[in-house]
């Protein structure tokens, strides 16, 4: 498994660059994904999406559908894309330390 170094921390990632172990997630990982995803500035809304994704994943063991993410955060779909241009299933899940969603994604 490849590793990435960022902010003085080391992360093992899977073949798609998603963090290999959910429990190794940290704010340094968030900053790393921000850079990778080309997100200019990280704000409270990004953190809110990340928090909602992690909370859902801890409870359900899988990423939520976008509808759930929109309902819980109160963000419209277009706004979620403004926050995460590569999409909620990719960039946002990656930043939140979730595994890459399975299936045709």
């Amino acid at each position: 498994m490849p590793t990435v170094e960022f902010g003085g921390k080391s992360f093992t990632v899977d073949e798609d660059g998603f963090i290999d172990d959910y429990t190794n997630w940290s704010q340094e990982w968030v900053q790393y994904v921000k850079k990778e995803e080309g997100i200019d500035e990280l704000n409270d809304e990004h953190q809110k999406v990340v928090a909602v994704l992690r909370e859902y994943y801890e409870k359900n063991g899988i990423a939520p559908m976008v509808r759930v993410l929109s309902k819980v955060t109160g963000f419209k779909l277009k706004h979620i894309y403004e926050l995460f241009p590569s999409g909620p299933g990719k960039g946002a899940c990656k930043m939140a330390g979730l595994p890459k969603p399975t299936g045709c994604v």
């Binding site: 290999d20 899988i62 509808r67 894309y81 399975t102 299936g103 045709c104």
Partner: protein, 461 residues
């Protein structure tokens, strides 16, 4: 007979089993258990005796080892013409050996078969068009996948995918309520820009029943909204079913034939229940193959056809442009060089290449064909489920080089890819090889250039 807790010969048909698999990140335990999995040779031989006959057995026996299939295979080309990537070698060394040995094979052999069936063949069927006898190794590897599945040798993500179909009638965890809620949500969010926009659910006797890929409600709901807007602009009388809306089949990629039948029957039941005139499926290649081309046989329909006439999205778009239901603003056509990725599943396997060209003639000023193209086009590199299998990421990325070089040769920086699998493969190709291209489905492109009838424009405009 050692059976793993996660990796075994059973199907995934409960949420408990599914959740246990999902919790095993990247399938670490699953693949470790697979190394100890015993082969039920008796059952394997019984299946071969019962099902590997007539066409398949003849194909195995008449292969002249002429090698004509070699250059037809993108894996062979991408791997420096490795003889082990010649389609006839791949099938003879797997299915051929299984038959010769009357099913007496071991764990190492089955691992090799699994690796070959999922990482060295995307079931694109291109070899069949070059074999002098018409031997279709893609069809044969589809069959081999079923044998592997029955013995528990199937990539972790596809075991999950086929389980999803059994539990949710969809390749992802989406309930009827989730789906209907997403339809309502999308209509509501986009209604501001498109007054009167609706996503009608369970409307009877509509002209069109629209079916999708579960990834759309789960991860990309804008795709559903875009389809709705285009139907709205075209004035179509359409609907989506509350149940039976999912047309894809990871079960087909997995070789879980029981799940294939369950899935496709849910779609056919929606057709029977709502009595629409015809079905249109979203921009997905394998969904079309599963539900329209193969599904009738899984469901045992004697006609060999879907209960109602079924169309791929490119057929609907071509028709809408031809009949003027959708009109393109000439000033907004694509000016830059643009190419088109022919999906194996609806172009090579269903002959819809001309629809694609017709569409491009309306929307693009500088359309560049890939070479080869249409039914001779190469697989995107990620078909047959390969995009979604982490274990074979390296093999997939090597295979992508054929498509990369085809795209580069066109000089186009924009690739139209009306198939989710192709779209993903081209996105990943750009991520890995950074050749500076963009990629798109048809829907967003059409929305950027379609003329909006006066009565459908927002009032404040």
């Amino acid at each position: 007979m050692p059976e793993g807790i996660l990796c075994n010969k059973q199907v995934v048909d409960t949420k408990e089993k599914l959740n246990a698999l999902l919790a095993d990140k990247s399938g670490k335990q699953y693949y470790a258990e697979m190394k100890a999995l015993d082969i039920d040779s008796k059952a394997l031989w019984a299946t071969l005796e019962k099902t590997c006959k007539s066409r398949l057995r003849t194909w195995l026996e008449i292969c002249a080892h002429c090698g004509m299939c070699a250059d037809s295979c993108f894996f062979y080309l991408a791997n420096d013409k490795d003889p082990k990537q010649v389609p006839s070698y791949k099938i003879q060394s797997t299915l051929g050996e299984m038959v010769k040995r009357k099913g007496e094979v071991d764990n190492d052999f089955m691992h090799m078969v699994m690796d070959t069936a999922w990482s060295k063949c995307s079931c694109c069927n291109r070899c069949a068009t070059y074999c002098p006898f018409g031997i279709d190794m893609g069809v044969m590897f589809g069959y081999v996948r079923g044998l592997c599945f029955s013995q528990g040798f199937v990539p972790w993500e596809l075991k999950i995918g086929s389980g999803m179909h059994r539990i949710y009638n969809a390749q992802m965890d989406i309930t009827t309520e989730d789906w209907v809620d997403t339809c309502e949500w999308m209509a509501e969010e986009y209604e501001e820009d498109w007054p009167g926009l609706e996503i009608p659910v369970d409307k009877e006797n509509a002209d069109i029943i629209y079916t999708v890929n579960a990834r759309e409600p789960k991860h990309y709901p804008e795709d559903l909204a875009e389809a709705a807007i285009l139907f709205h602009l075209a004035g179509e009388n359409w609907t989506v079913p509350s149940q039976g809306w999912e047309e894809t089949s990871l079960a087909m990629f997995a070789g879980d034939w029981g799940a294939c039948k369950i899935q496709v029957e849910s779609v056919y039941a929606a057709m029977d229940r709502l009595k629409p005139k015809r079905m249109v499926v979203t921009e997905c290649g394998h969904a079309y193959r599963a539900t329209v081309l193969e599904g009738p046989y899984w469901a045992g329909l004697k006609s060999g056809k879907t209960p109602i006439e079924s169309f791929h999205y490119v057929e609907w778009v071509a028709e809408a442009l031809r009949t003027g239901k959708l009109k393109i603003d000439p000033a907004k056509r694509i000016k830059e060089p643009v190419t088109y990725q022919d999906s194996c599943n609806y172009v090579r396997n269903a002959g819809l290449g001309d629809c694609a060209r017709e569409i491009m003639s309306y929307i693009a000023e500088d359309f560049r064909e890939m070479r080869p193209c249409k039914e001779h086009n190469f697989c995107c590199g990620g078909g047959g489920g390969l995009n979604g299998i982490g274990l074979y990421r390296q093999a997939r990325n090597i295979g992508l080089t054929v498509k990369r070089d085809q795209i580069l040769a066109t000089g186009a920086k924009l690739v139209v890819a009306p198939c989710h699998n192709c779209w993903d493969a081209i996105r990943d190709l750009e991520e890995v090889y950074k050749i500076g291209i963009r990629w798109s489905f048809l829907k967003p492109l059409l929305l950027s250039m379609v003329e909006v009838p006066e009565h459908l424009k927002p009032k404040d405009e």
